[in-house]
Structure formats: structure tokens, C-alpha cells
């Protein structure tokens, strides 16, 4: 493995900032540990130092891109009242925290099945200066049938966001060590066909009273899943559109109540 110039530079700075030996950091990187875990942060939009920690999923540039776009959309509609948002599988909290940071009207809740993720998301809220009154992450399993009735869930929500696990088991076995060896498989594998979580989310979208009358849904999907997810959401009667990421992949399925 050959370390790119930029990575070496970032590691040098990290070694200097944290008083660790550069050699040990380089060794970790050569063992395929993700750069973001070694440094301990990953900038995400205007959030310059979002904390990342194994095994919680590292925010991806594709996600950063659509969340910024969603924030622009939410801000441009200049709502007079608060917008309530639910993020399913919140991980580091990157999606709701950036939206809270960019849109002052957003009040968000994050759910994750991993206690590591919940702890990290709450830490990140504090680091980003988002108060408890605007963001809280809690432990929960949104696949569980009783989930909508959980105490921490307060429907109806105006915005539903999610970057659920969407990798198929076959694909998972092909992933590079950077991802497979260090990130939580629970945050990556989306059931037998990679679409399992979209079925669950579709049933939540269709559930009466779960989303408000002008609700909007934004779901990140794998590079070849947009059409399948659109088909799933079609019966809900929401208006469906797809956002393409900067690399030309259909990345985000958007559904809006008509």
C-alpha cells in the first residue's frame, strides 16, 4: 500500500495535534485502518470536526452532498414554525446535526441500534453546540413492530431521513479491508438483498399519523437501488424524485406528500 501525499500530511498534523508518534499512526494506516478513525474526526459540511470512532460508520462524501442539498431546500422554504425531524440509523449523528446547524428551525431525533453510535451522536451534538432541546439520540430498533409506539418517538414528523445499511451480503464479502475490517457490519449490510430496511421505512411512511401532512422523506440508497426503492415508495402516494450524487450515481430518493 502506498500512502497518498495528502494522507501523510493529514497524519503528520494529527500526530502533532495529539502528541502521538507519526510512525504509529502510519503503521495503523498501513494496516488499512480508516484514516478518519486514526485522526478521530471527519469534517462534514459546515461541521468541521465531527468525531468518529470505531465501529460507527464514517460519514461519506455522498451523504455530505445530499444533506447540504436538503438543508438548502429546507432553508429556502423558510418555515415559520419548527420542523420536526427523525433520522433512522443515525450513526455519528452527521445527518441531523448538519441539518440542525444549517436550519435553525429543525428539531431532530436520532435512533440507532448501536449503543456506540448513540453515545457518539450525543457527544457530537455537544461538540457542534446543538443543545439537548434540539437534538437527542436514543437507543432503539426501528425494525421492531413496536417502534412507532416507543416513548421517545413523537409523531407526526415533518422530515424523515435515513442512510440505512444497504450493502448485500455478497457485496459485503467483496469490500476492501478499509471498510469491512473496521466499520460495524450492522451499519452496512441491508439484509439478504440490501433492501430490507427500505421495506421497513416504507411501512413507517405509510403508517397513518407517523408523518405530517406536508412531510418529506430523504433516503440514501446504494448505487443500483434507486429504482427499486422508488417502486417500493410509489404506493404511498408520495411524489417521488431521485437526486444524483456528484459522481453520477442515483444516490438519494426523495418522497414528498402531495
Amino acid at each position: 500500500m502506498r500512502l497518498p501525499f495528502n494522507e501523510l500530511r493529514w497524519l503528520k498534523r494529527a500526530a502533532l495535534d495529539s502528541n502521538r508518534s507519526l510512525e504509529s499512526l502510519i503503521q495503523r494506516r498501513l494496516n488499512h485502518e480508516p484514516l478518519q478513525y486514526i485522526i478521530g474526526t471527519q469534517p462534514f459540511g459546515a461541521l468541521d470536526n465531527l468525531r468518529v470512532r470505531p465501529p460507527v460508520l464514517i460519514p461519506r462524501p455522498e451523504t455530505e452532498n445530499w444533506v447540504i442539498r436538503l438543508a438548502e431546500y429546507l432553508c429556502s422554504s423558510s418555515p415559520s414554525r419548527n420542523i420536526s425531524l427523525l433520522d433512522l440509523g443515525t450513526g455519528s449523528g452527521c445527518i441531523p446535526l448538519l441539518l440542525c446547524h444549517l436550519c435553525p428551525k429543525v428539531i431532530a431525533t436520532g435512533v440507532d441500534i448501536s449503543p456506540h453510535a448513540v453515545r457518539l451522536a450525543n457527544e457530537n451534538a455537544e461538540l457542534c453546540g446543538i443543545p439537548h432541546s434540539r437534538f437527542k439520540a436514543f437507543l432503539g430498533d426501528f425494525v421492531h413492530p413496536g417502534f412507532p409506539k416507543t416513548e421517545a418517538i413523537n409523531p407526526p414528523y415533518d422530515i424523515l431521513t435515513s442512510n440505512p445499511p444497504y450493502i448485500t451480503p455478497d457485496e459485503y464479502l467483496q469490500l476492501s479491508d478499509d471498510v469491512a475490517k473496521f466499520e460495524d457490519p450492522t451499519a452496512l449490510i441491508g439484509g439478504y438483498d440490501g433492501l430490507e430496511f427500505y421495506r421497513v421505512i416504507t411501512s413507517l411512511v405509510a403508517r397513518p399519523g407517523f408523518l405530517s401532512h406536508k412531510a418529506m422523506v430523504a433516503l440514501e440508497v446504494g448505487h443500483s437501488q434507486a429504482d427499486a426503492v422508488c417502486d417500493m415508495l410509489n404506493p404511498t402516494g408520495f411524489r417521488i424524485s431521485v437526486w444524483t450524487d456528484p459522481w453520477g450515481k442515483k444516490r438519494t430518493v426523495i418522497a414528498q406528500r402531495q
Binding site: N6, P34, V179, G222
Partner: protein, 339 residues
Amino acid sequence: MASPEDVHRLRQLKESELLQEAWDHWTSTLKALENIKPLLSDPDPAMMSLAAEEAVELDQKLSTILKHTFPSLLVPPSTTANLSALVELKSGVGGTESSLFLETLLRMYMRFSQSHSWKASVVANNDNEGGGIKDAIVEIKGLGAYDTLRWESGVHRVQRVPATESGGRVHTSTVTVIVLPLIEEQDAQKEALYSMDDIRLEVMRARGAGGQHVNKTESAVRITHIPTGITVSMQDERSQHQNKRRAFQVLSARLMDRKITREIAERRATKNSLIKSADRSEKIRTYNYAQERVTDHRIGLSIMNLSSVIEGNALQDFTDALKQDFEETTMEDMLESEA
């Protein structure tokens, strides 16, 4: 109660304060000289010589006001006085030796900034494999940074025996410096330097599926301003958003630079005068290590203490001299157009 017109008048008044001060100084000195004149023919020789001495002194004062104070007031106030600077350094001829010298110049500007209490940070840099830095961009934030540094633009030449040269032969290498006016994001929008419709944004080609499937650390972006063909690539930051922001910052600085250059050209065209234009391919300065000498070719100024220049201190002598030269040229220019 202050109205907008009051604010305008207040500003006018404030701006004319310097003129008033200079005029008051002139008239009071002149009056003192008038008062002393009768004493020059005083019958008392002691009194007469005292008066003569004072008259010489007052005369000198008057001529200083006439020769320096008044002309300096004619130079129009800088419209760029508030701007910070973006300094681009690019290695030229000389290979690794040029990259090593670039590193030295970079340090010089960092130290110079520090002594002015400007905030300097390297926003992009490409290391050279053989040592030194291939190219770099430094953001220098602070009042007057651009006005002070703008004459650093041009080709800087180094003459020395490279550390890698075993034969002891003197090499000549160059580094190109470009100083751009840096404006804040919100001001860039006010200036309307570009429209988003004229921007083409490209990302580094991703391999494979993207998203959760891969963990990319490279998030290079390239923006192109279609009407001017200016392209900016940025890859030093760790997120695409940050790289994009940096790229737009550099684009704004380049467009602002063009705007200022265009405005100066237009002013000159209307005055129909001939002033040497700042040509960035022009060799402006030579750093000769063997002679411990730095020479600025535009004003013919040599400083015989190279170390002090590259340590950042004596650079001030160059920037001061260049500023004075600029003011004098501006005045000559004005006089010529009057004539």
C-alpha cells in the same frame, strides 16, 4: 438624529480632516514667517540673528510641507486598503532547487505576516518529491495585507550553490509569486464576481459503487469559470465541502484581481498616460547568496543583508520602498495627465 445624508457628510468631513490639518499647518507656519520678517532688519544684532535662524527653520518646514505633505495628499486613498491577501507561489526553472527556494520564500512571508499580526495559513501545498515545495497557496488575513504585499507579484530569482551541487557551481532558479486580493465570502457575493450558472464543478472520478461501499479519503474538486476559463483545483482539505469552499475562495480572489487590474487599466486609458504595467512574468527580485545581497530590479534597491530579508524583517524595507515608488508614480501620472 442622524440621517443617511448625515452619515455621508460625516464621512466626507472625516476624509477631509487630513487636508484641513495640512492646510492649517501651512498657514500657521506661513504666518509665523510673516511675523518674523520685520525682526530680520532689527537694529539689535542678537535679535536679528535669532530671527534669521528661526526664519531658516520655518522656511525648511514650509518646503517640507510643499514637497512631501501636499503631494502625498494627492494620492487617492486606496480602495483595497481593507483587503486580505491570497499569495500563490509556484516553482519555476531549477527543479528541486526552485522548490527548496519556494519553501524559503513561504517561510519569509509567514514570518513577515506574523510581525504584522496578520493571520497566515497555508491552504494548499504540493510537496516536491526531491525536497521543498512544488507550489503553495497561503491565506494572509488582516488589514492592509493585500496593499502591502501586492508588489511581491512577479518572478523571484535565486542565485546560489545548491546543497545538492557537488561541483560548487552557482545555479539560478526561479519562483513565481502571485498576490491576489482576498475577499470574504459575503463580500464576494456583493461584488457579484461570478454567477453560479457560469461555473462548472467537477469531482475526482470515483471508482466503483461509492457510498457505504467505499471509504474515500480523496475529495478533490475542480471548478471552472467558463467565461474566463479560470480553473481552480483543490484537494488539500479532508471533505469535499471544504475543498469546494477553498476553490471558490481562490476563484473569487482571481476574479477580484482581474477586476482591479481592469479598473486600473481603464483609469489609465482615460488619462492617456503610459505607465509600466505589472507584468507577472517579469523578473522583479534577485536573491544572491554568495554576495548576501537582495536586489529589487524595479526600483534598483539592494539590501546587503539577505538573511534579514528571508527572515522576514528587512522585507519591510522593500515593501516600504515599493509603496513610495507607487505613490510617486501615481503622482507623476496625475501631473502628466494634467499637462
